[in-house]
Amino acid sequence: MSATRVSSRAVVRTCIRPLVAAAVVLAAVQTPAHAQTGNVTGVVRNATNGQPIAGAQVSIPELNLGIQANNVGRFLLPNVPAGTHTVQVRFIGYGTVTAEVEVAADGAVVQDFEMRSEAISLEGLVVTGTAGAARRREIGNSVTQINSDVFESAPVTSVADIMQGRTLGGTVLTNGGQVGAGSTFKLRGNNSVSFSNVPLVYLDGVRVRERGLIHSDEANQQTNPFDDINPADIERIEVIKGAAATTLYGTEAAGGVIQIFTKRGVAGAPAWSMTIDQGINNLGHIGPSPDVNPTGLGLNNCNFTGDSNFSGGDSQFPADPSCPASGSWLKTGRMQSYNLSVRGGAERMNYFVSAKWGTEGGVFDTGFDSDGFKRPDQGQESWNLRGNFAFSPAEDLDVRFNTFYAHRDVTWVPDGNNAEGLLLNVFRGGRDYTNDEDGKLLDMDITNINDRFTSGMNLIWTPMEGMQHRLNAGIDWTRNEYFEERPWGYFYVQLGNRETDERTYRKLTLDYAGSWTSEVLGLTSRFSLGGQLYNDFITGTNGFGDDFAGPGEKVLQSGAITEAFEVNSTVTSGGFFFEEVLGAADRFFLTLGLRVDGHSAFGKDFGLQSYPKASFSYVVSDESFFPEGFGLLKLRGAFGSSGKAPGLFDAARTWASVAGDNGKPGVTPDNLGNPTLGPERSTEYEAGFEGSTLNDRVAFEYQYFYQKTSDALIPVTQIPSGGFVGRQFENVGLVSNRGHEAFVNVNLLSSDALIWDVGAGLATANSRVEDLGVLDNIPVGWRNYVYAPVECTAELSNGVDFDGNGFIGQGCQVGELVHFPLPAFCHDRVQNPDEVAAPRYATQCLGSTTPTHTYSVNTTMTLGQRLTLDVVGEGMGGHWLSSGTAYQNARRSVWPTCRDVNQAISDGRRDQLTAGERALCDPSVTRYGMWTQPADFFKLRSVSLSYRLPQEWIPGRFRSATLRLQGRNLLTFTDYEGVDPEAFEDGSADVLFRQEYYNLPPFRSFVLSARVDF
């Protein structure tokens, strides 16, 4: 065994066993040599912030001695033979460190270690996308690892906060500013026309619900179960992005996989950690510049008191008699959370337990109702509990239980594309639904209650050197209750109504993998075989009660008219796989694998689906010909397939039950059916390299990927005149997606006094439609289309580019094929903007609705291992966004930048306006497309400052104390003229469509946090 290798069996064992037990065992085994031995002891710390690293693996490989640092980072290697030895310390996500120690007989050597988190650590273990744990050097595809130390310098509040700006190739869009609303996650953009492009999510090996829950039609948001996970519980996150990496996850994994690992116990006395966060949320000025928009579209100032430019008030946004006493619909929302955790363990058993409670207030002032009662505050209250336990009932068997429960109450205000939405009515000034008494809208109650339980058991049996069996079984159970009520006397629906929607989502996971490592003809071989079974059950009821008899608290049956619906479905998917990893000289690795899947949604005539994979990894820097001193360089390439299953009933011809003739039972055509229906297949090729140079001070990674989704499931319109109207999924489409991903992280300074890292990442993803079968296009939302390629015509090529931002097909060569992104905004755009005339329009496809490139910059500066400044910025671009807000306000002559045109029309000078001016602002002729613009933006996502108090400042019972201050979403740079370039009217709805439509923009937050460890 080489000095740098520790067997996987040893690693696993050391991961589980407590320090004391190991010491006793080692002592017993080596008793004859006792007189010739000494001890090595010390503490393992994070070099950046000085925090101990619990669970770091400390070993002397040449002696096959190993131990795990305890829960405060301390370790003891007993009975080390006297002499000079190299002690090695490893931990996932950190660069391996070594130190030479001189051990004297009966002596004790104190050797502390400081480890630095590494973006690229070839010896680090990765478990996502591989059959078992594999060292990064063996893996042929790109993997992103985010370790807790990277985000613990800031008091992050959600998984989205962690991933935003830190996931190369990932986009995390915030969508809106309602507290508790979910974000949108995507990896490498879109590769499916018809199905979710959201990655699969695993929590400690258990597959969990990855999509939003019940969609509120009134708040136009939905909660995302991702946000129930306490970020303080997370040890690390692994992300794999394309089919080349996700093959072993089979059908449904084409959108990538995110695997979250929570903290585990480590041997030692209980080590407690308590965190208290206090913060605020608020919004700045809304909409166009204060010069033309002094009231912030009536939101910042709803009680207009005058302005030097608007003496006498703003006629577009007059004072609202229901305006809160503060004179603004906005307020500062307060947030607080309290987190307590403990980890420790004893022989053969360890634990990590945590609890958290918190509240977060939104930025709307909901005020008082007409009876003078305080309305419920917008915001959320949440708590969660976690218990992770591990024990070793036998020498070769490790058992882990991970259980978590979360509860969340969320209260929203009506928002977005909704006649009763607050912003819609406020922004429209007097041209609204409320006769400009917008506070009436806040009488509507919108509440979510989420409960979530996730529990899993991991069995790891290591019967002999080089062999391991792993079995995961788990359940993810989520219950979402949604309530929406318009009280009796509500202005818009005078008799009131109520909706309740209750949904339970249950996912079961059964996952086995066995691997056997051996030597074959001088090559290392790791053969793995396994299988998974997933069961996805959804049940729920949705009820409506309309027309109450009087005031008071209501239930559905309070309504004179009631209606109910039921959801009840089960989908089972499963498959098995094998994988062979061949290694040569520990520097060249070839991986071959195959997965075979079945799925409930496949057609009866379809059968099973197989997904192959192959990859190579070549650590070229280990070769003798490689320049010495360069550092590490790994070349890699990967190919693989995975899929997306069709919908539950897409294969069967069915009729739906309906009512007619006033409540009598009837049937209506539902789904035409397609017995040959199968999954769409994503095949991906990826090639790249990663490594580090300049004494590991520069880490870098690059890859190019090309994805092709064949047999894409396209909702093909059945011939309407055939009567069975609607769409039937057919495997007829072809979609491609390609892009580059690169990041570099530079350690500019590294000393005890100052550590300064700077990083930057860039990722592109250009998905486009290659074929839609017989279809020309598929509408996927308001003026969002999936377009098949078209032949360039002179008319297309020579269209007028209204605003200099171009359009798809502009300048194309007649006859060539013009491709469209997936999906594209296609809108009416003015063709005679400079003429003094009525506008003429032509439909032009403008660009992608989702970002085609993302980039991030971050820097971390640590002074004296105590004071850390961390800054994360993120930009996205290449996409367009329709501002429904600007368009609809322009239609009502209440968009601030249209004041001059409105005045001209009012003065009777319409015929003096150019077509371009009229197309934008003349209510009688403006079109949506005129308010569709490039939405490139850069946001300062996070600036945080943390300070670890000197030991002498804190009471003796505390091991450490840290103060943290973070600002989130602090600045936005964009030329987009709508309200916010990241906003989406439908929250985290899992759709291709995007549009901004009167939804609250993302707010900024400031959080002060104190953490003590004791």
Partner: protein, 461 residues
Amino acid sequence: MNTIKTRFLVPCALVAAFAVTGCDEGLFDVKNPGRILDDDLNTAAGVASLVTGMSSDFSASYDNLAFTTAILSDEIVGSGSYFSTGRYRRGLFDSEDSNGFWAGVQRARWVAEAGILRMKEIEGYQFDGNVQTARAYLFAGLANRWFGENFCKTVFSAPYSEETPGPGGEVDTGQEMAREAAFERAIPLLQAAIQHGGAAGASDIVNAATGGLAQVYVGLGDASSAVANSSKVPTDFVYAAAYSSNSGREESIIWNETHGRHEISAWMTLAGTYGAGDPRTPWTDCSDAGSNCPSANGADGETIHYRQEKYPTRDDDIPIVKGTEMRLIEAEVALNNGDLAGAMAKINEARAHYGLDALESDGTIGSLTGGEGGGAHPTSMSGWDILDRERHLTLWLEGRRLWDLQRWDHPHLDGGGVVYEATVDRRVTCDILGGPRHIGMPIALDECQVNEQVADRCFSK
């Protein structure tokens, strides 16, 4: 090696065995109650549900047609924030706009026609003389009337084939046909409804089918056949598409878009001006302090919301055959025959049904002159202008006005626009499909995309 076999291969074999045994049909069965498989409908006991489904599919799309054609014909003004109504009130309506309406009428037609074929084959079902059979024929006939009246062209791809031709010998080929083809198709269906309804003693179905025949003969320009049928229908007869608050699908969209929302308004329309106080065109001025409306204006923020009260609840049915329309058909035929007195007698017979005073013409038959706000001249007392106005008000919000404008080649179609200026010369034009003076909803883009025979018959605006 034995150790390895035991420790690796045995667990793996267990997994493999699980995979093999687990991959039986049962494991991956879809479990999702609520759907009905196609073959399960072939039972006599299921016929009632099949026919109720025909009624439901008819109603589910007819209200949307009535709502939209009301905007397109300026029967009522689009006052909302929907992008589509913004287009419609400018007279913009293209093949993509037509998708939902085309699908709706095709489904209503096909469900009834194919259902009749299915019912004939169901063992144990008494087809002849059964009231369910009569209703099925009625819905098939009326759906074809709806198709012919409102669409520029017709296309039929199913259910009739060489093996199972339609009652008039129709074989569906998927080719474009004139709108008259739908009227022709409706005739034997409605005649069959009369036959089976009569045998079953269902007088309402007989009257509805007879009135439907009168309507389709008007569509075909066959005045004598139209009158021969209309005269059999009593003035007080009404057959309506059913709506109900029983379920969301059964609710009338017109109620929702006017009471639930403020998307269309009678402001400045004929109903909102001349029709004030007319029991056929009731509305509430939401700008009145005592109106109790949630807001004074339409959703566009500027059009005063004159909220229609013809359908004041979710449950209000939309008439599709009325005796009063029969009298107006007879009046129209009389005018065409130069019989002004006869025409006025029929018009006044219909008015009397609503408790309205009799009208007296200026003694001239005249011709359509049209006018502001909805097309019918508000004050002219010539025979044709009176008829125009009376049909407009009598059939208000019933999905019939667009057809009257088309078949009369009404002057209003040369422009108009109640609130916003129309941006096309001729509103709701069929453009390439029917020539410059031909209006209606075009063949849907969805049809053009997948039916090669009409691939070039769609257009966009």
